[in-house]
Symmetry: C3
Subunit: 246 residues, 3 copies
């Protein structure tokens, strides 16, 4: 893919965000895109190829949102970063003259369509040159955490390199329900009480809750691997019970 892009424009600068998305895991990719995109400059082109439907009728798309561009399959990858807003521009990629080849492989559109289009966008080609306007992306309804004044039920959406388990429960969601941060968290093989601000506030080897650098509730162990030690996996349910009156 980088070879294809350098053929379009040899001066491009690449940043590899991750090569560790689980195979076909569109939700994990959408989660990573949402969290990393705001830290990149205006003008960045985000190329994302988690594409279980490659070779089927799923559409190849490109869009503009918040002064950045996104290129990839129309399968929900961009739904979280868009956060229910319509993109500023949105096209289906139907102009093969901007692809690597007019006869793309049935199994690798990342190489034959998306890379080439992304490189053209980064080189200043407009979206309406690269495709035809469409109105909407494929709707994708993420299951959201359930919250009321008794508590919140969500789940683990990402386990990082350290074994920290990041949930889909945001600080804002909890605050909207309850003034108090006195909670019990039922997750994996354990119960964790109270929310800390940093890892070192509990003894080495002890579990804790905190809001991570994206404002999401995280289950961690001070200098330990929470996923392994507490038997928590991507998808594990996380139940928060408020222990004070809200």
């Amino acid at each position: 893919m980088k070879g294809v892009m350098l053929n379009v424009n040899p001066t491009l600068q690449f940043v590899d965000v991750t090569h560790l998305i689980g195979p076909q895991d569109v939700m994990e990719a959408a989660f990573v895109i949402k969290n990393m995109a705001p830290f990149f400059p205006a003008g960045t082109v985000h190329l994302a190829v988690v594409d279980p439907g490659v070779g089927t009728s799923r559409r190849p798309v490109a869009l503009k949102h918040n002064e950045q561009w996104y290129v990839g399959p129309d399968n929900g990858l961009f739904s979280l970063v868009l956060n229910s807003q319509p993109p500023d521009e949105l096209v289906v990629l139907d102009k093969p003259s901007y692809w690597r080849t007019p006869s793309p492989s049935d199994t690798f559109h990342g190489r034959d369509i998306f890379s080439s289009v992304a490189a053209h966008i980064a080189s200043g080609v407009s979206l309406d040159t690269l495709g035809s306007p469409i109105e909407t992306l494929k709707p994708l309804h993420w299951a959201l955490p359930i919250a009321d004044q008794q508590g919140v039920q969500g789940w683990v959406v990402h386990v990082d390199h350290f074994g920290n388990c990041i949930t889909n429960i945001s600080k804002k969601l909890i605050h909207d329900q309850c003034n108090s941060l006195s909670v019990k968290c039922y997750v994996g093989s354990t119960i964790i009480a109270s929310i800390k601000t940093t890892y070192n506030t509990v003894p080495t080897g002890e579990p804790l809750l905190l809001f991570n650098s994206h404002g999401l509730l995280e289950i961690a162990i001070n200098t330990g691997n929470a996923s392994e030690m507490l038997s928590i996996r991507k998808g594990s349910p996380v139940n928060i019970v408020f222990t004070d009156d809200c």
Copy 2:
């Protein structure tokens, strides 16, 4: 290695193709080089260091082929991309003034010889300045698939990130033997009949055959890991039997 190259020329652009070649697996590296090189622009310098013979009498070489350069040990790494053609230029690297040091480590020529030479090539230094012309690379005879009008016997040469198992059996090899694509494929713990064009043409969890984006027969499972689920490894034999008259 990148530090050494930036000392030669701070304006170089790097692309990491892979760091996941199996230790000492010259054949896997040769396979990756053959498949990725054509997608890179003219002028690209390919630096490849899979070098089990480092510190022995195996020669350090550089060569030019199809308007691209290759630098590495003379151990067969470049035999597949050359495809039995002689290189346009070929030298043994015997000019220590272009190395990082005239006294290279016995165990890391990647750092002390190859990186420095690759950076000089990328900066415009000619091959005949960097070494002395030689006639031929070390001959290396890859075992090739055996084909006749009954079928083809090959093997798995690469298992990718998704568990897809790529064989050394090309679409052309099959077509040369048989007009029909009606086959049975015996591989690992299973038999797979018929060749599809994309993963989604079978139900989720079902195995299939297809020709991948390089034209090579691949054993896959729709949204699954064929290597794990079918007990197929790099080196596993793959037997194709033609089921129609050819």
Copy 3:
């Protein structure tokens, strides 16, 4: 982190040295920094975030040493590359206007402080603009190998991609004690006699000792994985006994 740096300066060039340091393993990171830094050009900014104390009172620092800069937490990461010399310049990072945000996350100073500061240094901002001078880094006393004319006791500090086990015993340390290189090495489940210069000097599958490309004693197996086959891990003790009179 790269997004943050590109916001400061879109022309930066990045080199990823490693993403494989063990979680919270400051010593392994310090070892890698010491070994790779000398190969990079003058002017390089090394950004290192192995930061178990993030969010506590440990100080964020930047320093200059040998015409290169280093940015990260004050936890010993830079102690080995400094080799007991004082840095040429040393500041505590206390100027939030050069951070990504004046309210950094408690758990990701890599993104909110260190990246932004590193990008400013690479763009020409002086250390005394980015922080306030301090006298010393947190002292950190690495346990060193013990050597006398009977032998040397050290340990494995790094296991590389190939399973080679690198020790903290340098060629110089052995030479300082003994003119002879006739040794027995007790490590893991084996005893290895004599020191070779390259892997191929023993039969395939046999263990050997050599001094690696950084001058450190390494335990290896010719085309094999010494860590797995000899049950050697990071931290395993290594005992060298001199077998000739010194």
